[in-house]
C-alpha cells in the first residue's frame, strides 16, 4: 500500500494528513510538491489536504487546479487510484471537475470551526465500508467556504447513485441536502469538508477518521 499527500504552498493540513494516514494504517506516506509533473509509481491513495492552497484570494481551489501536479492527479484518478480531498482538497476536486458541484461561502458568512456529527449516507463505499454499519461518526471541521451546492439534476444523480457519502446531522453551513462529503460515480474519488485527519486518535476528541483511512487500505 502506497500513499502520497499533495503539498500546495498554502496547504496547512499536509502534515496532519500524513500523520493521520500513517498512524491509522501503520504505512508510510510520501509528500509530493505541487510543481511535480509526475507522481510516485504505484500509488494506491492520493490525499489533497486542507489549507489555503494558493491563498484562496480567488475562489477556493481555483488556482490549485492550474498547478502542474493536478494533471497527474487527474490521470491517476482516471486510472482508478483512490483520491481523497479534505476541506480545501474537496474544493480543489470540485474546481477541477473531478467531483460535481461547488463549495460556496458558508450560509452564516463566517468561518466555522467545531466538532461535528456526520451520518454515513452510504456505508458501501471503499471509504466507509470499515464503519461496518456504524450510523454516525464525529469529526471536526473548520472552513469558511464549506456550503456544498449542486443543481437539482446533479443532486438527483448524486442521491440516486449513492454518491452522497456523508451528511451533517446538524447542517452548519447551508449545504444542500446536508451534504458533507460525496464520491464520484466510479467510487474512487471522495471529497469531504470535515477533517478525518484531525480525528484519528481518541485524545483529539474522536478516532472515527482513522477508520476511513483503514477502510481505504482494506479495499486496496
Amino acid at each position: 500500500m502506497s500513499a502520497a499527500v499533495i503539498v500546495f504552498p498554502g496547504s496547512n493540513c499536509d502534515r496532519d494528513c500524513k500523520v493521520a494516514v500513517e498512524r491509522s494504517t501503520g504505512q508510510p506516506v510520501s509528500m509530493v510538491w505541487h510543481q511535480e509533473t509526475e507522481l510516485p509509481k504505484g500509488l494506491d491513495l492520493i490525499v489533497l489536504p486542507g489549507g489555503f492552497s494558493y491563498g484562496d484570494y480567488l475562489r477556493c481551489g481555483a488556482m490549485a487546479v492550474q498547478s502542474p501536479v493536478m494533471q497527474a492527479v487527474k490521470q491517476a484518478a482516471e486510472d482508478g487510484v483512490t483520491v481523497v480531498g479534505i476541506c480545501n482538497g474537496f474544493q480543489i476536486l470540485c474546481e477541477a471537475g473531478m467531483l460535481p458541484g461547488a463549495l460556496l461561502r458558508n450560509a452564516g458568512l463566517k468561518y466555522v470551526c467545531k466538532p461535528i456529527a456526520l451520518s454515513i449516507a452510504n456505508g458501501q463505499t471503499r471509504f466507509t465500508a470499515g464503519y461496518q454499519g456504524q450510523r454516525e461518526v464525529v469529526m471536526t471541521q473548520g472552513n469558511g467556504d464549506g456550503n456544498y451546492f449542486a443543481d437539482a439534476d446533479t443532486l438527483a444523480r448524486l442521491e440516486g447513485e449513492g454518491q452522497v457519502v456523508f451528511r451533517y446531522v446538524e447542517n452548519p453551513n447551508g449545504s444542500v441536502a446536508d451534504i458533507a462529503g460525496i464520491q464520484n460515480a466510479r467510487g474512487n474519488v471522495l471529497g469531504m469538508m470535515p477533517h478525518p485527519d484531525r480525528a484519528f486518535e481518541a485524545e483529539l476528541g474522536s478516532a472515527d477518521g482513522a477508520i476511513l483511512f483503514q477502510s481505504i487500505y482494506a479495499a486496496a
Binding site: P9, C13, Y111, P115
Partner: protein, 734 residues
C-alpha cells in the same frame, strides 16, 4: 512624500521626538540630521521601540531560571522543555491599529507575533488572544468585535496555526482604545535557536518576503501617541496583512535555517527595515550598509525615508554565512518569494544607506541604542479602594436573577461566537481549546508524549482598584490556570497596556502593577522571558483601565495526565480546595448585580497560592483528580456552573454552612480550586494534612443548577442564557 517646508526641529516634533531628545541627536551627529536620519532616530527612540518609559520598571522582573534559554531582549523568549526541545513564545499588542482598522489591525497583529516566534527558529504551534472592547452599547463596539475577530481568524486560520485559548472583556473604559493582544507559541530544537546579532563584517544582508510599499509608515510612532478626535485619519498608518505570504515566509525561513545558511535573522516588524537592520548590526557590534535601490518595492518612486519607515508585512532580513547565497536563492525560488541581497555588514559601526548613487543616511549605530532616552517618569501612589466588609455588600433581592446576571453578563457569557471562527484543530495536536472545558489550552509537542499548556490572563478591574494586588493577581491566575490542567508552570510573557506614562497617576499604575507582577513571578518561580509594552492607550485624555496581560506556558511531561472540568459525573462530590474569606471588592457580583465597581480586589497570598497549586498538581499527576477548575471571575458559583455546563450534569451547591451565602458563592478569593471526585474523604484528609482548607461544597446530581432554597435553574435554561448573549448582540438583537 514631499519634503515639507518645516525646519528639522519642527519635523522632529512631528515624528514624536521631544525637544531634549532631538538635542541629544544633534549632539551625537554633530550636525543637523536629514529627513531619513531623523526618521531612523525617531522610530528607534519611540516608546514602542525603545521602552523608554517602561524599561526601568521592566528591570524589576525576574528573567532567569533553570529552564530559561533566552529571556527578554530578543524577538521572543525561549524556554527548555526537556529532551532537547525548546518552546519560544511572546505576546504583543496591536491596539492602536486595531481600533482604526479592526480587521487588518488584528490580522497583522497575529502575523507580527508569529514572525517574532519563527524568526528565532520555531514552528508556531499555538495562538492565543486577549481582547478588551468598550461597552457593548457603545456605537463602535459591535463593528470592532466583528472586525477584530474575523481579522484574527482570517490570518491564523490561513497560516494554519491553531488558536486555542483567549479571553474577551467589555468595559466602557475601552470605548476609545480597544486592546488586541496576541500571543504565539512555537517549538524548536534547543540547539537550533536563531538570534539577531550579526556576527561579523563582510556578510551578505538578504531581504526576503513581500515587497515594500508605503503602508504603515511611522506605525511605531502612532503606537506611541494618544488618540484624539482625528484618529480615524491615521488609517494610512495601518498595515495590510497577507497570511498566504506569511505561510510561505514561515516555510522558507525554517527551510533556510535548516540549510545552515543563516548567521543572523530578524523580522521586519515595527519600524520595518530600520529596526531590523539597526538591531542586527547594533547587537552584533558591526556596521551595516544597505543599497536602497535593491529593496524589492511594490510601488514606484519610493524614497529611502519611506522604505526605511514602511511597515509592510511579511518581510524578513537575514545575514547569511559567507558563500551560502545559493541556498537562499534556491529556497526563495521554491516558495515564490521576492528576495534580494540589499547590503553587507561592515566594520564601521555605522548605518549607511545609499539611494540613486547618493548616501542618504550615514549615522553611528551606537547612539541609537546607548543614547536612547530612558525616563524614570514621576509617579504618584495610586488611590486605593477600601476593603469591603460583609455589611457593605448586600445579598441579592432575587437569587435566580443574580445568578443569571453573573453567569450571563457580557464578560462571563459564552464566547462561542468568537472562538468558532478560529481554527482550533489544525496541526492535529490540540487536546484542550476554548471549546473544551479546561482552564488552559493544551497542545501536544508533536511526536512526543509531552504537552504544552497555554493561557492568557488579566483582571483589569482588580488592577484598576489596586494596581499592586491586581498585578500579582494576573500572574497568579495564569499560574493557577496552568496548574488546573495539570501542567507545571514555567514562564510568562507580559503585555503591559496602559495610558499615557507622562501622567503621574498612570505612571503610578505602571510602577505598582509591575511591582506586584514581579513579586508574584519571584514567589511562583515564574520568570518573564519576553514581553511588550503598549502605552498611550488614551483618547482625549481618558486612559484605559490598566491592563497588564500575562501570557503563560506550562509543561506537561506526559500529556495523558492533563485534566479539564468537563468530566464531572452524577454522584460526584464537589470539593473546594482553598480558603474562602469572602472577597467581593471589584467582583463580578458587585458590578453586575449591585452596579458598583468599588472595593479592594481580593488579596493574593502568594505562598498560599503556591502551596495550594502544588498540592492540586500533585494530586492530578498522581491520577487522583480528573475534574478540576480554578476559581476566578464570579467565584464558586461561576466555577460550579462551568463544570455543570461542560459536563452536562446538574449541580446542587450547599451554602448552608456559610454566614452569608452570597459572599460564599460569589466571593472571588484567590488560590482556590473546585474539584469533582467520587469520594471526598481521602482528598479532604490529604489536603488538611498539607495544611490546606478543603470542604464539600456541593454534589453533582440531576439536571438543575441549584442551591437549596436560594435558586434552582434548569441546566438547559442556564446553557441557553449563557450562550445567548454574544450572538444576539452581534446580530443587533440586544
Amino acid at each position: 512624500m514631499s519634503i515639507p517646508q518645516k525646519t528639522m526641529a519642527e519635523l522632529a516634533a512631528d515624528y514624536g521626538l521631544a525637544p531634549n531628545e532631538y538635542q541629544v541627536l544633534l549632539d551625537r551627529l554633530g550636525r543637523e540630521p536629514n529627513q531619513v536620519e531623523l526618521g531612523v532616530f525617531s522610530v528607534m527612540w519611540s516608546e514602542h521601540c525603545s521602552y523608554k518609559s517602561s524599561k526601568t520598571q521592566l528591570m524589576k522582573f525576574p528573567v532567569t531560571g533553570e529552564r530559561v534559554i533566552c529571556g527578554p531582549g530578543e524577538n521572543a523568549g525561549v524556554i527548555d522543555i526537556d529532551d532537547g526541545d525548546a518552546c519560544i513564545f511572546k505576546m504583543e499588542s496591536h491596539n492602536h491599529p486595531s481600533y482604526i482598522e479592526p480587521y487588518q489591525g488584528a490580522a497583522t497583529g497575529v502575523g507580527g507575533i508569529m514572525r517574532d516566534v519563527f524568526t528565532m527558529g520555531a514552528r508556531p504551534v499555538a495562538l492565543l488572544n486577549a481582547l478588551r472592547f468598550g461597552d457593548p452599547s457603545h456605537e463602535k463596539t459591535r463593528r470592532l468585535v466583528s472586525g477584530v475577530v474575523s481579522g484574527i481568524g482570517g490570518y491564523g486560520n490561513c497560516v494554519g496555526v491553531p488558536t486555542v485559548a483567549g479571553e474577551t472583556n467589555f468595559h466602557a473604559g475601552y470605548n476609545g482604545n480597544i486592546l488586541v493582544n496576541a500571543m504565539c507559541v512555537g517549538l524548536a530544537k534547543a540547539d537550533s535557536i536563531f538570534y539577531s546579532a550579526a556576527p561579523a563584517a563582510g556578510h551578505s544582508v538578504v531581504y526576503f518576503g513581500s515587497k515594500t510599499g508605503r503602508d504603515g509608515i511611522h506605525g511605531a510612532t502612532m503606537a506611541s501617541a494618544e488618540f484624539d478626535a482625528d484618529s480615524d485619519e491615521k488609517r494610512p498608518t495601518v498595515q495590510v496583512g497577507d497570511p498566504f505570504a506569511e505561510k510561505l515566509l514561515i516555510e522558507a525561513t525554517l527551510e533556510l535555517m535548516a540549510s545552515g545558511a543563516v548567521a543572523a535573522i530578524q523580522d521586519m516588524g515595527a519600524a520595518g527595515l530600520t529596526s531590523s537592520s539597526v538591531e542586527m548590526a547594533g547587537k552584533g557590534g558591526v556596521g551595516i550598509e544597505l543599497d536602497m535601490d535593491k529593496v524589492p518595492q511594490r510601488e514606484t518612486g519610493m524614497t529611502a525615508y519611506e522604505m526605511m519607515l514602511s511597515e509592510s508585512q511579511e518581510r524578513m532580513l537575514a545575514v547569511l554565512k559567507p558563500g551560502r547565497e545559493a541556498d537562499g536563492e534556491r529556497i526563495f525560488k521554491k516558495w515564490g518569494l521576492d528576495a534580494a541581497t540589499i547590503g553587507v555588514t561592515t566594520d564601521t559601526g555605522r548605518l549607511v544607506l545609499k539611494h540613486h548613487g547618493e548616501t542618504v543616511c550615514d549615522v553611528p549605530l551606537a547612539p541609537l541604542f546607548d543614547d536612547a532616552p530612558l525616563y524614570d517618569r514621576p509617579w504618584v501612589q495610586p488611590e486605593l479602594q477600601p476593603r469591603l466588609a460583609p455589611a457593605d455588600v448586600p445579598a441579592p433581592d432575587s437569587w435566580p436573577d443574580a445568578v443569571l446576571s453573573v453567569l450571563c453578563c457580557p464578560d462571563m457569557a459564552s464566547k462561542r461566537w468568537i472562538w468558532e471562527q478560529y481554527d482550533r484543530h489544525v496541526m492535529a495536536d490540540t487536546l484542550q481549546d476554548s471549546a473544551t472545558g479546561a482552564d488552559a489550552g493544551v497542545v501536544r509537542v508533536h511526536g512526543t508524549d509531552k504537552g504544552l499548556a497555554v493561557t492568557s490572563d488579566c483582571t483589569p478591574r482588580y488592577v484598576q482598584n489596586d494596581p499592586y494586588e491586581g498585578g500579582k493577581q494576573c500572574v497568579a491566575e495564569a499560574w493557577r490556570n496552568l496548574t488546573a490542567v495539570g501542567s507545571r508552570p514555567i514562564a510568562i510573557t507580559d503585555n503591559l497596556n496602559f495610558g499615557n506614562p507622562q501622567r503621574p497617576e498612570i505612571m503610578g499604575q505602571i510602577v505598582r502593577a509591575t511591582d506586584g507582577m514581579a513579586e508574584a513571578c519571584r514567589a511562583l518561580d515564574f520568570p518573564v522571558v519576553s514581553g511588550n509594552v503598549s502605552l498611550y492607550n488614551e483618547t482625549n485624555g481618558v486612559a484605559i483601565p490598566p491592563t497588564p496581560t500575562v501570557g503563560a506556558v506550562g509543561l506537561l511531561p506526559n500529556y495523558d495526565v492533563t485534566v479539564g472540568f468537563g468530566s464531572m459525573a452524577e454522584g460526584d462530590v464537589l470539593v473546594l480546595i482553598g480558603e474562602t474569606v469572602g472577597e467581593l471588592g471589584a467582583s463580578i457580583y458587585l458590578r453586575e448585580v449591585l452596579g458598583r465597581e468599588d472595593g479592594a480586589p481580593p488579596p493574593v497570598d502568594l505562598a498560599l497560592e503556591k502551596k495550594t497549586g502544588d498540592f492540586v498538581r500533585d494530586r492530578i499527576e498522581a491520577g487522583e483528580l480528573t475534574c478540576v477548575h480554578d476559581l476566578s471571575d464570579g467565584g464558586l458559583i461561576a466555577a460550579a456552573a462551568d463544570m455543570a455546563l461542560a459536563s452536562d450534569c446538574g449541580v446542587e451547591l450547599d451554602a448552608t454552612s456559610a454566614t452569608h451565602a452570597h459572599i460564599f458563592l460569589f466571593g472571588e478569593d484567590q488560590a482556590r480550586y473546585l474539584v469533582a471526585v467520587p469520594d471526598a474523604a481521602a482528598l479532604i484528609e490529604h489536603a488538611q494534612n498539607a495544611g490546606l482548607h478543603a470542604s464539600v461544597v456541593g454534589h453533582a446530581r440531576g439536571s438543575d443548577f441549584a442551591s437549596g432554597e436560594l435558586f434552582r435553574i434548569p441546566l438547559a435554561h442556564l446553557r441557553e442564557m449563557h450562550e445567548a448573549w454574544l450572538p444576539a448582540y452581534m446580530e443587533g438583537r440586544t
